[in-house]
C-alpha cells in the first residue's frame, strides 16, 4: 500500500465513522437521497484542499497518461488544479475567468468562451462547492447511493458538448469527493482519484 492509498483509506474510515456518529447521517441512509440533499451536504464545506492522481487512457497511445498534483476550492466559485507531475501546470478558475499557467506562460480567458474546458471545470467545481444551480445549468444530473456513499452522474445538456463528453461521474462519501471519471465520446477516459488534505 502506498502512503497515498493509506491516507485515502483512512479518510474513508473517518468519513464512515463520522456518518455513523451523526443521527442525521443515519437518517440519510434510509431516506431517499437526491441532488438537493447531496448539494446541501457538499455546500457545508466552504473550502478544501486535496491531492489527486489522474489516469487517462487514450486510444491512440499505447500507454496510460498519468499525472498528479493538488486541488483546492473555495466557495462560492474558486477552483484551482495544480499539476505537479509530469509537468508543472496550473489552472485557476475564479468566477468566469480561467487562468492557465505553464512555466513562464500564463493566459486568462473567460471560462464560458471555451465550453470544452468549462464542462469539466463546472462539473468538478460545482460538485466541490455544492452549487446545485451551476450543476443543473450545465448537466442533467442523477444521484444514486446514499449520503455515506454516493455517485453523481452528469450528462452535458448542450448537444454539442455531448459529442465530446458522454458523461462525468463523480463519486464520494459524505461531503468528500473521491473520484471523478470522465468518459469521452471517442472512447477515451480519465479517472481522477481525489484525497482530501488537512
Amino acid at each position: 500500500m502506498t502512503p497515498l492509498d493509506r491516507r485515502q483509506a483512512l479518510a474513508s474510515l473517518l468519513a464512515l465513522g463520522g456518518a455513523a456518529a451523526w443521527p442525521m447521517g443515519a437518517r440519510a441512509q434510509t431516506a431517499p437521497f437526491d441532488l438537493t440533499e447531496l448539494m446541501q451536504l457538499l455546500a457545508k464545506v466552504r473550502a478544501g484542499e486535496a491531492v489527486f492522481t489522474e489516469k487517462r487512457s487514450v486510444a491512440m497511445l499505447e500507454r496510460t497518461l498519468e499525472s498528479s498534483g493538488r486541488l483546492s476550492f473555495e466557495a462560492p466559485d474558486t477552483f484551482v488544479r495544480e499539476t505537479l507531475k509530469p509537468r508543472q501546470e496550473r489552472l485557476a478558475v475564479v468566477g468566469n475567468m480561467v487562468t492557465m499557467s505553464s512555466g513562464q506562460r500564463s493566459r486568462t480567458v473567460p471560462l464560458d468562451s471555451v465550453p470544452e474546458a468549462a464542462v469539466i471545470v463546472e462539473a468538478i467545481r460545482g460538485t466541490l462547492t455544492g452549487n446545485r444551480d451551476a450543476i443543473e445549468r450545465h448537466f442533467s444530473a442523477s444521484v444514486t447511493g446514499n449520503a455515506v456513499r454516493w455517485t453523481l452522474e452528469l450528462v452535458p445538456r448542450m448537444p454539442r458538448l455531448r459529442e465530446l463528453v458522454t458523461s462525468v461521474r463523480v463519486s464520494g462519501q459524505q461531503a468528500v469527493v473521491n473520484e471523478v471519471v470522465v468518459a469521452m465520446a471517442d472512447g477515451d477516459r480519465s479517472v481522477m482519484s481525489i484525497t482530501p488534505r488537512g
Partner: protein, 804 residues
C-alpha cells in the same frame, strides 16, 4: 470723378443686372456642389502626428469597419442555427473581410495555413525547443491535453506536431476577452441573443460602401425574419450611415418647416400680397445661394449641417427685408420713391453696422479647428452680406416705397408699443436678474464640460445597445493604443515585437490583461529566419527525438511525419504581408499594420486590454522608454484633451470676436455711452442664458459657444435699432414730431419673431450640433430684444397706431 465714386455710380446703375449675374453664378455653383453629411467635419483637425493617427483610425481604421450584429427572438437553438447559416451567407457575399460568430469550422482554411507555417509562426520555436529537454517538455505539454475535451484540436495532428505548436499559435492569437460560446456560436452573456462581428471590406470613411454593406446585412437576414428572429446591427459604420440619413432628412424637414413658418409670418405681417411675399424672400434666397456658393468654392463641399444651419439664416436674412419693407413705407404726402432714399439715409447705416457686427462675430468661426464650424462661419458671412446688399441695392429699385400691406401688423404694433412703454418700468428687476445671473455663474461650477460624444446624433438607446453588443463580443473600445512606426513592413513588425517584449512582463504581473499585436499574426522576417535557423536537420532531430521520447507517451518511430515537416520548414519561404493576402489572417493583420507610402511610415498598432484596473499610461511609457518611436495613445483622454483644447481656443476666438464687435461699434459710434447702451442688453441676455444653462446642469460645448456668438451677432442688431431711435430722439429739438412709430418697432418685433422661430426649429432638431445652437440662440435673441426695449428707453409718438 474718383475711381471709387465711378464704381459707386456703376453699381447704382447696374446693381440689378450685377445682382442677377451673381445670383446665376451662385446658383450654378450650388448646383454643382458636392453635399456631404458625414460627421467627420465635426471632428477637430488634428494638430499632432499622434492625434492624426488616432483620428485616422477613428475615421477609417479597423474600428470604423467593425459591424456588431445580434440575433434576437426565437429559441436558443434557432438563434445558433441562424447564426451559423447567416455567417456563411455573409462570408460568401465578399463584402466582408471577416465574419466571426464563434463557429470554429469556419477557420479550417486559417487552421491549415497556420499548421503549414507553424515552425515560422509559433512563438515557442527556438533552439531550446528542439533540444532533447525542449522536445520532451513540448511533448508532455501537448499530450497533457489528450484524453480531455480540450484535446480535440491536437489529437488529429499530434504525430506531426508532437510539441503542440498548433496549440501555442492558437493561444497567442485567441483574444483574452472572448465571447461566451454555446451551441457552437457566440452568444450574449446578458441577453438572449446570438452575436457576430464582421469587418467590412469597405473603408470606414466610404459611407456609400458602408451603406451597401449594411443593406447586404439586412437583405441577407430576410430568410430568418420569417422564423421570428430579429436582427440588430451596430458599429461606427452603421452610426455614420444612420447619422447621414438623419441629417439629410432633418435638413429637408428644417428647410420646409422654416420656409412655411416664415412665409406664414410674412403673410400675417404684410397681408396676402404675393408680390410683397416674393420680394421679402429675395434677400433670403440670395443669401442662401451666396452662402452655398462661397462654402463650396472654399471648402470643396457643403456639409448637411451647414445647410441645416443655413435655414436659420433665413430667419436673420428675412429681417433685412422686413426692416426695409416696413421702414421705407412712404410717409403721407411724400413723393413716390422717397421711401427708399429716406431708408438709405436713416436706417441703412444701422443695418450696415448690424451686418458688420454679425460679420465680426462669425469671422471668429472661420479660424475654428473644426472644418464644419469654419463652414458655418463662412456660410453666415457670405449669406448675410449677400442678403444685406440685396436689400440695399436691389430693394431700393424693386420696391422704392417699401411694402404697402399692413396685415395683422397693426396688432403687433399695439403690442410692441405697449411693451416699449411697460418694459422700461421693470428695468430694475431685469438688471437684478442680470446681476443674479452673474452671481450664479460665479458660484456654480463651469458648465463648459461638453465632449466630442455630445456632437454625435446617435441616441442614448443605440449607444447602450452598442455598448451591450461590444461587451457581449469582447470588442469593448480599445482604451489605449501603442503606435510604432518604421520605414518598411519588416521594421514596423520588429518594432511591434520589441514593444510586445516590454508588455509581456506587465501581462505576467497582472498590470495588463493582454494585448493584440500585428507581430502575433505575422512575425518579423528576422524572427521567422531566427526560428528557421533553430530547426535541426533530419538526422540531428531524429537522434534527439529518440532520446527525448524514452519513457514518454509518444514513441519516436511514430513521429516520422514530424521530422519530414520540420525539414520542409527549414527551406520554407518567409511569410510577408503579401503572402497572407487571401487568407483569413490578412484581415487581422490589416487591422493592426497600416502600410506606409511615400509620405508616411509604416505603422504598427498594438491595442491593449485592461485587466481589473485601468491601464496606467505613465507605467506604460516607463516600460517603453527604450523603444524609439513608441507612442502611447490613450484614446478617450486624448480625444477629450483635443476637444478641450478646441473649446479653449474657440472660447478665445469668440471673446476676440466679441471684442472686435465692441471695437467696431466704438469706432462707428464714437461714444462710450452709446456703446455701453448697446452692449448692456446683449451682454445681459448672454449672461442670463448662460446662467440658466448652468442651473439646468447642461454640459456646454463648442456649439453652445457658437450659439452665444450668434446671439451677440443677431441681438446687437436689435440694440442698435433701439439706440438709433433713442439717438435720433435725443438730437431732435424739443417739440419736433417724433419719427419713431410703433410700426418701426413692430418691424423689430417681427424680425425677432422670425429669427426666434427659425432657431426654435433648430432647438427641436435631433442633431446635437443644430439642437445646441437653437437651444442657445432662440432664448438669447428673444431676451436681447426684450432687454434692449427695457434698457434703451424710447419715447412714444403721440399717435400710438403710427402713420399708415
Amino acid at each position: 470723378m474718383t475711381a471709387p465714386t465711378r464704381l459707386g455710380v456703376l453699381a447704382r446703375r447696374h446693381a440689378f443686372v450685377l445682382w442677377l449675374l451673381l445670383v446665376i453664378a451662385a446658383a450654378g455653383t450650388a448646383l454643382r456642389t458636392n453635399y456631404v453629411a458625414d460627421l467627420s467635419a465635426f471632428l477637430p483637425r488634428a494638430p499632432s502626428a499622434e492625434q492624426a493617427v488616432l483620428l485616422d483610425q477613428l475615421r477609417s481604421g479597423i474600428a470604423a469597419r467593425l459591424v456588431l450584429v445580434g440575433i434576437e427572438g426565437g429559441t436558443p437553438e434557432q438563434r445558433s442555427a441562424a447564426s451559423l447559416q447567416y455567417a456563411k451567407t455573409l462570408r460568401a457575399s465578399g463584402a466582408f473581410d471577416a465574419v466571426h460568430n464563434g463557429d470554429n469550422s469556419a477557420f479550417e482554411a486559417t487552421g491549415k495555413f497556420l499548421f503549414d507555417h507553424r515552425y515560422l509562426l509559433s512563438p515557442a520555436v527556438d533552439a531550446q525547443r528542439f533540444s532533447v529537454d525542449g522536445l520532451r517538455a513540448g511533448i508532455l505539454d501537448a499530450t497533457s491535453l489528450l484524453g480531455t475535451p480540450a484535446g480535440g484540436v491536437i489529437k488529429p495532428v499530434i504525430l506531426r506536431d508532437p510539441t503542440g505548436e498548433t496549440i501555442r499559435m492558437a493561444e497567442a492569437m485567441l483574444p483574452s476577452q472572448a465571447p461566451k460560446s454555446e451551441g457552437g456560436v457566440w452568444i450574449s452573456r446578458s441577453a438572449p441573443r446570438a452575436v457576430l462581428i464582421a469587418t467590412t471590406h469597405a473603408d470606414g470613411a466610404d459611407l456609400d460602401a458602408q451603406e451597401r454593406a449594411l443593406n447586404l446585412l439586412r437583405t441577407g437576414f430576410a430568410p430568418f425574419e420569417t422564423q421570428g428572429l430579429r436582427l440588430i446591427v451596430s458599429g461606427s459604420g452603421s452610426f455614420a450611415v444612420a447619422s447621414r440619413a438623419q441629417i439629410k432628412s432633418e435638413v429637408e424637414r428644417l428647410a420646409i418647416a422654416g420656409g412655411v413658418a416664415i412665409v406664414a409670418l410674412l403673410l400675417l405681417a404684410f397681408g396676402g400680397s404675393l408680390r410683397t411675399l416674393l420680394t421679402a424672400l429675395l434677400p433670403v434666397a440670395t443669401g442662401v445661394l451666396a452662402g452655398i456658393a462661397a462654402v463650396s468654392l472654399v471648402h470643396g463641399n457643403v456639409h448637411g449641417i451647414t445647410l441645416g444651419f443655413g435655414t436659420t439664416l433665413i430667419g436673420e436674412a428675412v429681417d433685412y427685408a422686413i426692416y426695409y419693407l416696413i421702414q421705407a413705407r412712404s410717409l403721407p404726402g411724400a413723393t413716390p420713391g422717397a421711401g427708399a432714399q429716406r431708408w438709405i439715409v436713416a436706417s441703412w447705416p444701422t443695418v450696415r453696422l448690424g451686418l458688420w457686427t454679425s460679420v465680426c462675430g462669425f469671422a471668429a468661426l472661420l479660424f475654428s479647428g473644426f472644418p464644419g464650424l469654419a463652414q458655418l462661419g463662412l456660410f453666415s458671412i457670405a449669406g448675410l452680406s449677400a442678403a444685406a446688399l440685396t436689400t440695399r441695392w436691389v430693394f431700393t429699385r424693386l420696391a422704392p416705397d417699401g411694402a404697402p400691406g399692413m396685415g395683422l401688423r397693426r396688432h403687433l404694433g399695439h403690442a410692441v408699443g405697449w411693451c416699449t412703454a411697460v418694459l422700461p418700468r421693470i428695468k430694475v428687476p431685469l438688471a437684478a436678474l442680470t446681476l443674479l445671473a452673474v452671481f450664479v455663474l460665479a458660484w456654480l461650477p463651469s458648465p463648459w464640460r461638453g465632449d466630442l460624444s455630445s456632437l454625435s446624433p446617435v441616441g442614448a438607446a443605440r449607444m447602450k445597445l452598442d455598448a451591450e453588443l461590444r461587451a457581449d463580443l469582447g470588442a469593448t473600445d480599445a482604451g489605449t493604443l501603442i503606435a510604432v512606426s518604421a520605414p518598411d513592413e519588416a521594421g514596423a513588425l520588429m518594432q511591434a515585437e520589441l514593444v510586445g517584449a516590454r508588455l509581456d512582463p506587465l501581462v505576467a504581473a497582472g498590470a495588463l490583461a493582454g494585448y493584440e499585436s500585428p507581430a502575433r499574426v505575422l512575425p518579423s522576417p528576422a524572427l521567422q529566419a531566427q526560428r528557421q535557423k533553430a530547426l535541426p536537420d533530419a538526422a540531428t532531430l531524429a537522434a534527439r527525438l529518440a532520446e527525448a521520447t524514452v519513457d514518454g507517451p509518444l514513441p519516436a518511430p511514430r513521429l516520422g511525419g514530424f521530422i519530414t515537416d520540420v525539414q520542409a520548414a527549414r527551406t520554407q519561404p518567409l511569410l510577408t504581408r503579401g503572402s497572407l493576402k487571401g487568407t483569413p489572417l490578412y484581415g487581422a493583420l490589416d487591422a493592426l499594420l497600416v502600410p506606409g507610402n511615400g509620405d508616411r511610415p509604416w505603422r504598427a498598432l498594438l491595442s491593449l486590454q485592461a485587466g481589473a484596473q485601468a491601464v496606467d499610461p505613465a507605467k506604460l511609457r516607463a516600460a517603453l522608454a527604450d523603444v524609439p518611436n513608441a507612442r502611447v495613445v490613450s484614446i478617450k483622454p486624448e480625444l477629450d484633451a483635443l476637444y478641450a483644447r478646441y473649446l479653449h481656443d474657440a472660447t478665445w476666438q469668440a471673446l476676440l470676436g466679441a471684442l472686435a464687435v465692441c471695437a467696431l461699434l466704438a469706432l462707428h459710434l464714437r461714444s462710450a455711452r452709446r456703446l455701453w447702451r448697446i452692449a448692456l442688453p446683449v451682454a445681459s441676455a448672454v449672461l442670463i442664458v448662460l446662467a440658466a444653462f448652468s442651473v439646468a446642469g447642461v454640459a456646454l460645448g463648442i456649439l453652445h459657444l457658437v450659439g452665444l456668438l450668434l446671439t451677440v451677432a443677431i441681438g446687437s442688431n436689435y440694440a442698435l435699432f433701439f439706440d438709433q431711435i433713442r439717438d435720433q430722439q435725443e438730437h431732435q429739438p424739443a417739440g419736433a414730431p417724433l419719427t419713431i412709430d410703433n410700426d418701426t418697432l413692430a418691424s423689430l418685433a417681427l424680425a425677432n419673431l422670425t429669427a426666434v422661430i427659425s432657431f426654435c426649429l433648430l432647438a427641436v432638431s435631433s442633431i446635437p450640433a443644430l439642437f445646441a445652437i437653437g437651444q442657445v440662440v432662440a432664448p438669447g435673441i428673444a431676451l436681447s430684444l426684450l432687454l434692449s426695449a427695457a434698457f434703451i428707453r424710447v419715447r412714444q409718438s403721440a399717435t400710438p397706431e403710427g402713420a399708415v
